[in-house]
């Protein structure tokens, strides 16, 4: 509970007024010389406890009445448990707003985001703070607000298609507090507790806890949680889009997936609508379980229609953020790979692998450059770089890093003479022969380059035979290892695309990668596809992901018309930028409604001053309500009780005694 006029609470000191008056009254006593002491002593002995209790109760009622009056004029606010912790003026109030698509769930009649903004603006308007700071999930940069009411009208507080990164938002809040030397700080977090937004296993949490605990100023955390699961929400997602030419015609093969929350058992028919180049078509999809996938749904296209964007939609439901999915396609230009190698055998094997498109109608090209020509690489054209040369240095190394940062893919193969240079934190060690019976023992079959096929079968990795491998020095995540743990394929962490290190080459004296070419072909084509998706002329962009270019320069082709151009990168839609088509969509994790458990959330804030307030989006009740009525009632009750206790109790005998009869009672 807090108060609109907390300064008036100083009036609580007046509650001692009855006691003071009582004491003054006691001091104003008169002294009388009295004869009938025997009655006074007798009266003192009679019912002393009850009479004293009555006096105490009268005093208590008077104090209670005054206290209630002070509370009434201080205008108390009821805000649940959190209210007790927000009394007084905060120096800084930081609002962390989760704008992820899941916050658009409207199971309760209005979206969680709208409810959170409205309830928070209404509640915080009653508190006082010197500074109001908003950190929203799309761009975790602190933004100072004039007042909490700005939350409701600020476009930057609206919904987005990007996932939230709560650790990053909290880190931004911490940095702001430190940089601005804020005083007492209240941090309000509005979120639906989606596991993908909170990244509860992230190592940043422990660092955040320790850093917040070490701040000199008190920081109170208030979590406004809208953790109710969505009801009847369906989500649509396009997994692959392929363009295929059929004689004089062409068609688009769209693979899509429909998902819904667990527990929705009834089979439903979902009308899925496709929109490509203004032409619409529909497909009814039967959904019996929680997920269904429609593979290669054919959509006829004009033969000349080689490039464009499309949208897949399902009918409106409780969450509008996952009812549309955009995609872009462009078969006018194939994916381009560049092989940098001085070894003709290796270079040719790699070029051949990269230049054969998996789709007969697809176009893949590959160039071979020698190590001396590396400066002439056309970085803007390539989607994949196959580097079989000493690790780059200087400008080439920087351009390669920028290429990967934009989403490009690079696979390094060890040169014959490894040098001491590093790339992405890793360098080559020395070549060592492999035992005859050594095979690849473990590999990541669930994701990345060596993942299983769409039919669920493993790649024939067991058929690979390695003769020589080059050791890796540095921090890399193995994707495939030999029995003795020596990595065969490893990946380093980057901010954008992929940087892979294959510790052998397709040369015949190193391995049979070229001879058993399936694994090499699949890996390189997957890397090429990923690079093309990120850097090609038709790109699939995850909302909120790293963008190599300024989204404000994009042109919106479809999507939220009210979105700010500065937020194109986080708003689902189809955009064009310099001849590149971009389809921006929500992350896949947003379709999975995993909510953090209460204990898990509490554990994230362990050791910090943390209060959780569970709120329903459907609730019209404000976070804070004025409470003066109960106090007024309590005051009236206290006064009535006091009056009743003070009522004199005249008895018949007492009245008689007050006028005693005079005269003889008896005569002999």
């Amino acid at each position: 509970m807090t108060f609109l006029h907390p300064i008036l609470l100083a009036g609580l000191a007046l509650t001692v007024l009855p006691i003071v008056i009582h004491l003054i009254n006691q001091l104003r006593y008169r002294t009388i010389r009295w004869g009938a002491m025997m009655f006074l002593l007798q009266a003192n002995r009679m019912s002393r406890g009850l009479a004293r209790l009555r006096q105490w109760l009268i005093l208590l009622m008077r104090m209670l009445a005054i206290a209630c009056l002070v509370f009434v004029i201080s205008r108390p606010l009821a805000s649940g448990l959190m209210g007790w912790l927000t009394a007084g003026e905060a120096d800084t109030t930081v609002i962390l707003l989760d704008r992820s698509p899941s916050m658009l769930d409207s199971s309760g009649g209005r979206s969680k985001l709208v409810a959170a903004r409205q309830q928070l603006a209404d509640a915080l308007a009653r508190f006082s703070s010197k500074r109001w700071v908003l950190i929203e999930s799309a761009s975790p940069k602190p933004r100072e607000l004039e007042s909490p009411a700005a939350l409701e009208r600020l476009p930057e507080a609206g919904p987005t298609s990007a996932a939230a990164d709560l650790p990053a938002m909290l880190a931004a809040a911490r940095d702001y507090i430190v940089a601005n030397q804020a005083g007492r700080t209240e941090v309000w977090i509005c979120s639906d507790l989606r596991a993908n937004d909170w990244n509860s296993d992230d190592a940043r949490w422990s660092k955040l806890r320790s850093s917040f605990a070490g701040l000199p100023q008190p920081v109170h955390f208030h979590l406004l949680a809208y953790s109710q699961p969505p009801q009847g929400d369906l989500a649509v997602r396009v997994t692959t889009v392929r363009h295929r030419k059929l004689g004089d015609a062409a068609e688009l093969l769209v693979t899509l997936r429909l998902t819904r929350q667990a527990g929705s058992g009834d089979a439903v028919t979902v009308p899925v609508q496709f929109e490509i180049g203004g032409a619409r078509s529909a497909l009814n999809v039967e959904l019996a379980g929680t997920s269904v996938e429609v593979r290669d749904h054919r959509i006829a296209l004009d033969r000349q229609h080689l490039r464009g964007w499309g949208r897949v939609s399902i009918p409106a439901d409780t969450n509008a953020a996952d009812n549309d999915f955009y995609f872009a396609f462009d078969t006018s230009q194939g994916a381009h790979a560049i092989t940098v190698s001085d070894d003709r055998e290796v270079a040719e094997a790699l070029r051949l692998t990269a230049s054969i498109a998996p789709d007969p109608n697809g176009a893949c090209t590959a160039d071979i450059l020698s190590a001396d020509q590396q400066t002439s690489i056309e970085w803007g054209k390539a989607a994949l770089v196959l580097w079989h040369a000493p690790l780059p240095k200087g400008d080439t190394a920087r351009e390669l890093a920028a290429f990967v940062g934009r989403g490009g893919q690079v696979i390094f193969f060890p040169p014959r003479q490894p040098n001491e240079r590093e790339a992405f934190g890793v360098r080559w060690g020395s070549w060592t022969p492999v035992k005859d019976d050594a095979v690849i023992d473990r590999w990541r079959g669930d994701e990345d380059l060596l993942a299983k096929t769409q039919s669920g079968e493993d790649l024939p990795i067991g058929k690979l035979k390695l003769t020589n491998v080059c050791s890796l020095v540095g921090d890399a995540t193995p994707l495939a290892t030999l029995q003795d743990g020596v990595p065969v394929l490893a990946r380093t962490s980057t901010s954008g695309g992929g940087a892979y290190f294959c510790t052998t080459t397709p040369a015949a004296n190193d391995s049979n990668l070229a001879g058993e070419g399936v694994v090499l072909y699949v890996a390189i084509q997957r890397a090429l596809a990923a690079g093309a998706a990120a850097l090609g002329s038709a790109r699939q962009v995850i909302a909120g992901g790293n963008l190599s270019e300024d989204a404000t320069a994009w042109q919106r082709l479809a999507g939220n018309e009210g979105a700010l151009s500065s937020e194109y990168g986080v708003q689902a839609g189809a955009y064009s930028s310099g001849g590149v088509l971009l389809a921006v969509n929500r992350p896949e994790e947003e379709d999975i409604a995993g909510v953090l458990g209460d204990e898990r959330v509490a554990g994230l804030f362990e050791g910090l001053d943390f209060t959780r307030i569970d709120q329903a989006a459907s609730s019209e009740r404000s976070l804070v309500e004025e409470l003066w009525r109960p106090f007024l009632m309590a005051m009236m009750v206290a006064l009535l009780v006091e009056a009743w206790l003070c009522l004199p109790r005249p008895t018949k005998e007492t009245m008689t005694l007050a006028r005693p009869e005079t005269g003889p009672f008896v005569f002999g």
């Binding site: 009295w34 007492t654 003889p664």
Partner: protein, 301 residues
């Protein structure tokens, strides 16, 4: 009769009261002839009874007419009138110094005692005075000459209320020391245990004394009408009590009520001529009721 001015005597009141005789309710044993009934036969004009003659009787009292009618000797006896011995018992304990209406209990008691003493002597009765506080403070045996009355008035005037009340012990002592039947007039606030008072009254009655009590109470003691916290200082030297009157009034009045009820029961059972007197009452009226009440009883004999 001493004509010295006494502050507790009002000649006009005495003059008005002088017309009402003071009678005893029971036969008295006086030394001289008087207005009061004697337990013995005497020579008054009022016939009492016939008694059979025994040798030695005065032949002058022989009723010859009765002898002529029944041939037996009868002595004709008449009532004897004697004088009264009136013992005034004045409580001079500290509590008698209280009075909220301009007159204290001791002053009020002086007026009553003085008037009764004057009236008794006026009709030839003997008057004595005993002042009681922690014990018998002063004792003047009953005499019937006017000079003695002056001495009684002097003691009355000099009496000062102080000390604790030992009324029961003093009354028991008095009951034993007054040899002949007497009218014992107790003037006190009776702030003692009623059960102890019962013993005193029964003791006095056992000794054939005619007991009259003037129970003096102040209106404030009965109403307990206080508006602010009070510190009650015991007039008899006991402990002081600090009390909020509004908190204690109800219980105080209950205690007073219980005390008066018990006292009323006691005086009824011990046949005491009891008068509860409030200091706001006119003492002339009080005395008039006292005297006239006794006159009616006398007439009913």
């Amino acid at each position: 009769m001493n004509h010295q001015s006494r502050p507790f005597l009002d000649p006009k009141v005495l003059a008005r009261l002088a017309g009402i005789p003071l009678f005893a309710r029971h036969p008295m044993q006086g030394t001289v002839s008087g207005r009061h009934q004697s337990p013995h036969r005497g020579s008054s004009v009022e016939f009492a009874e016939y008694r059979e003659y025994v040798p030695g009787d005065d032949l002058r009292r022989m009723d010859w007419r009765a002898f002529g009618r029944c041939d037996r000797y009868y002595i004709k006896e008449f009532e004897a009138d004697t004088n009264l011995r009136c013992c005034l018992v004045l409580d001079t304990s500290g509590s008698m110094d209280f009075g909220s209406r301009g007159v204290t209990k001791i002053e009020y008691a002086r007026r009553i005692a003085g008037a009764i003493g004057y009236l008794a002597v006026l009709q030839g009765d003997a008057i004595g005075l005993t002042c009681i506080a922690g014990g018998v403070v002063r004792n003047i045996p009953p005499r019937r000459n006017p000079a003695h009355l002056s001495a009684v008035f002097d003691v009355l005037q000099a009496a000062r209320p102080r000390g604790q009340t030992q009324l029961p012990q003093a009354l028991h002592e008095l009951a034993e020391t007054v040899r002949q039947r007497a009218l014992v007039v107790i003037i006190s606030d009776l702030f003692v245990d009623p059960e102890e008072v019962r013993g005193c009254f029964e003791h006095l009655r056992f000794r054939k004394h005619d007991v009259a009590v003037f129970h003096l109470l102040d209106p404030l003691e009965l109403d307990f009408d206080f508006r602010r916290p009070m510190r009650f200082v015991d007039l008899e030297g006991g402990t002081s009590i600090f009390a909020e009157p509004s908190a204690i009034a109800e219980r105080y009045l209950t205690a007073v009520r219980g005390y008066l009820e018990r006292l009323k029961q006691i005086v009824l059972e011990s046949a005491v001529d009891y008068h509860r007197v409030t200091l706001s009452d006119d003492y002339e009226q009080v005395l008039a009721r006292f005297l006239t009440g006794r006159t009616r009883r006398r007439g009913a004999r």
